[in-house]
Symmetry: C2
Amino acid sequence: MFVETCIAPVNIALIKYWGKRDEDLILPINDSLSVTLSTDEMCAKTTIAASASFKCHLMWLNGEEVPFEENPRTMRCLKEIQRLAVAKGQLKFPIDWKLHIASRNNFPTAAGLASSAAGYACLVYTLAGLYGVENEELTAIARQGSGSACRSLHGGFVRWHSGKLKDGSDSIALPVEPAEHWPELHILILVVNDARKKTSSTKGMQRAVETSDLIAHRARFCVPERIAALVEAIRKRDFQKLAEITMRDSNQFHAIALDTYPPCVYMNDVSHAIAEFVHAYNNAAGEAKLAYTFDAGPNACLYLLKSDVSAAIAAIQTSFPNDMGHSVEYVKGIPVGCETKEKNGFNGNATLPIHDKNLLKYIIHTRIGKGPQRLDKDESLLDLTQGSPIET
Amino acid sequence: MFVETCIAPVNIALIKYWGKRDEDLILPINDSLSVTLSTDEMCAKTTIAASASFKCHLMWLNGEEVPFEENPRTMRCLKEIQRLAVAKGQLKFPIDWKLHIASRNNFPTAAGLASSAAGYACLVYTLAGLYGVENEELTAIARQGSGSACRSLHGGFVRWHSGKLKDGSDSIALPVEPAEHWPELHILILVVNDARKKTSSTKGMQRAVETSDLIAHRARFCVPERIAALVEAIRKRDFQKLAEITMRDSNQFHAIALDTYPPCVYMNDVSHAIAEFVHAYNNAAGEAKLAYTFDAGPNACLYLLKSDVSAAIAAIQTSFPNDMGHSVEYVKGIPVGCETKEKNGFNGNATLPIHDKNLLKYIIHTRIGKGPQRLDKDESLLDLTQGSPIET
């Protein structure tokens, strides 16, 4: 039995991917740019075993068996990695051996955070390790599982180039700057309660391309300008610029979703209250201390510098009070030290709106991080004798 | 003492006005197209008296004294009408006589409905009557009070042409079709509870022109196409087309507001729930029975045909239950007859989402209507001996 276990990170876009020019190959209509989050707080973990004794491909996601051979996206990723392995030669085991795949997210799926990006990145990275393939094509393969998964194959700041070729071979993710370039960049994820049924990203962006009268203008004119300005801001570690571009692009993405017919609405009243809070906070501080971005759901992702975390959390607690206080169940992730509070005290809490209690479910505190990593055998999610998932 | 009393209607845009090319003259960046609502349910009423004995211009709005001479917009309307009166000659009274002006809206200002449009239209129309001016320039004058007021000077379907001239003399409202062309067009206004502080229209559209990367594309490409298609739909009384264009344009206007930086958010969760209800209702009906539009606030304005009113109200009551049932305090305006319910029964209520109780404050049922009207002396809002407002 050959076994490989890896982890892959979540990424959150600063410039959003929304709209495909090719549905099958998952080719986007515009470049996007993301920050890879530290795997310490959130990651997908995948173990893949290959054995002559396995009868068919099997996959378990968070302990539940899920379709693999019936899922064209997972199969496409497998076929592509196998194609590279065969091309490279030197196969460790016969190419027709079946696989057992166990994958887990170490963060609640209820968070509504794009777990498919980390999941497909992890699948492709682990497959590549298993078949002994090290190749620049990996991001293009992960892209065919879930578009934004390609960005989770690198750490730090990552740009997904839309590419121009019809076969999508130039639609790849490349690093802009590694995590070490700006390690002070921290992230707070504000998980919002929401019961509404939402349009899936796949359907939402498909409908946007078909019906929005604004999306082509965004893709053609707005995004290229923003990407160039953002790359420059990242190189200079200019948080003010990064913040403005990020917030504007989040708003424009949701504007495009609203311009879709029928409209797609992903932010709710609480999301908008968070955006308003951020503008009020920045106004009171006299500069951008926080930058929000919202994906296809109501949760907010706030970018900020490490030195502002304590003060920002205090302000969030003021404006969005909750019954759990500063407990580790409420503020998850990197512990928030109180030692920096005095130094970077934000004195504008009196100017912030006070909302109803318990509008937020919890907060995750994390930071910019590295790309996927291979783990040791003892980290396996599969029983190495039988190839069945280990109970956790 | 010379006295004039008039009423003027509210209008609701199908293609939205958002963004000025000249702030002072109130010249828009795109044409807009509206429906004038019947004055039976909602109107502004204004009495203006001119007398040698008045010491200064005074104005009362809904019984409260408000600035007139200090308000550049009201003074601009007065000066422009006086200019026309002097140019015409045959003045009934000296041009320097001071005015007393009393104005009332017969609908709750809490409704958040653009009362300034009806108000300025009524001011200008009443001034024109008082000074004996009948002129095609009236809409251009009302426009300088409040942009969309120009559209309230005509009944039926009205198009405000953005114009091209720098002095704004070609930025006027012209009738598209009179109310008699399509008298079956009814309107339900769903008044939504909302406590948030919102950006004013004036500021919101100014900021949109300054910061939205999409608004110019909308004004230049999207609106002209939509106006042409809508004029055609109106001429043919094609409700399907009218509904789609109206909903798409409302969504695009709110998309532009969201693309503004910082963003302007006028719809809330209840507004979006109403939009979703309309799409679900239309889907279940197999055709567009309802068309929503939202102005710079959370209230919904639904267009529908007279024959569908009963069934639509029943469905709204199902999806948005309230403790006031069908009382006249809850469903205001034109009484809803139950006689058509059987014939036009909508059988899809089971497919509609059921929301929490009392999300709507009340509903106003009205229809397409005529432009401003002159009233008799006994309708005066001013005491004709003293020129002071009559208590109501």
